[in-house]
């Protein structure tokens, strides 16, 4: 299945892009996606192993199982206000 990973702020700079399509085996979790992303290159390995994540625009835990077409945002520590 294919999911779309989104990056913002410092994570966008680490990844060198705002979004990537990622192929994952069926049944893959948020945590599996993070592992795949961090193996992309040396820079990507600087992503934290357990960052905050939002799936389809809602925060969720790393054990959530992903589905085809999910929008998965990797959320750096927030600093609004």
């Amino acid at each position: 299945m294919k999911v779309r990973a989104l990056f913002f702020a410092s994570y966008r700079e680490i990844m060198g892009g705002a979004d990537f399509d990622v192929d994952l085996p069926d049944g893959a979790t948020v945590s599996d996606l993070i592992t795949v992303l961090r193996e992309r290159d040396d820079a990507a390995a600087r992503l934290p192993s357990a960052p905050a994540v939002a799936v389809n625009r809602s925060y969720c835990t790393s054990d959530v199982v992903l589905a085809e077409g999910d929008e998965v945002a990797i959320i750096p520590p927030v600093a609004g206000g």
Binding site: F8, A9, V53, Y59, C60, I75, P76, A79, G81
Partner: protein, 148 residues
């Protein structure tokens, strides 16, 4: 118009106040967050705000709904600006109107504190020496039931 907004436009506090106007209100609280010229002892020239726009709008809506329910206030509206801001520019504005002042103060405080811990917004400081850095933020606390 939704009572929660993420915008690149300059924030107009008067317009926000107009959106919470209510003849049954005896108290109106307006909170403005503004860009200050220093942080941790370093001089700042400007600030750039980025947001996950599509999510931030919904999250800000949720925060307002929670404040409404918790404190029983009459009307709320909030707007967060993104893009390049200068010193003194308003980055966030929250307006609350209520029958009485106590719950209006509490609701206003709740909204800004929740923005700080869960609104998907980031800011990069540009220092007087020309360098820039992302402001160290806070990790949203995420419960197993979903939501922060």
């Amino acid at each position: 118009m939704s009572r929660a907004q993420i915008t690149t436009d300059a924030i107009d506090p008067q317009a926000l106040l107009a959106r919470v106007a209510d003849p049954s209100s005896g108290a109106v609280i307006l909170f403005l967050g503004v860009v200050r010229n220093h942080n941790d002892g370093r001089g700042i020239e400007a600030m750039r705000y980025d947001a996950y726009d599509e999510m931030a709008q919904g999250t800000l809506d949720e925060i307002l709904a929670e404040a409404e329910e918790r404190y029983g206030v009459g009307r709320l509206a909030a707007v967060h600006r993104v893009g390049e801001l200068g010193i003194g520019d308003v980055s966030v504005a929250i307006a609350v109107s209520s029958a009485h002042r106590a719950e209006a103060y509490e609701a206003s405080r709740y909204v800004i504190e929740e923005i700080k811990v869960r609104l998907p917004v980031w800011k990069k400081e540009r220092f007087e020496d020309g360098t820039s850095e992302w402001v160290a933020g806070r990790n949203p606390e995420i419960s197993a039931e979903g939501g922060a």
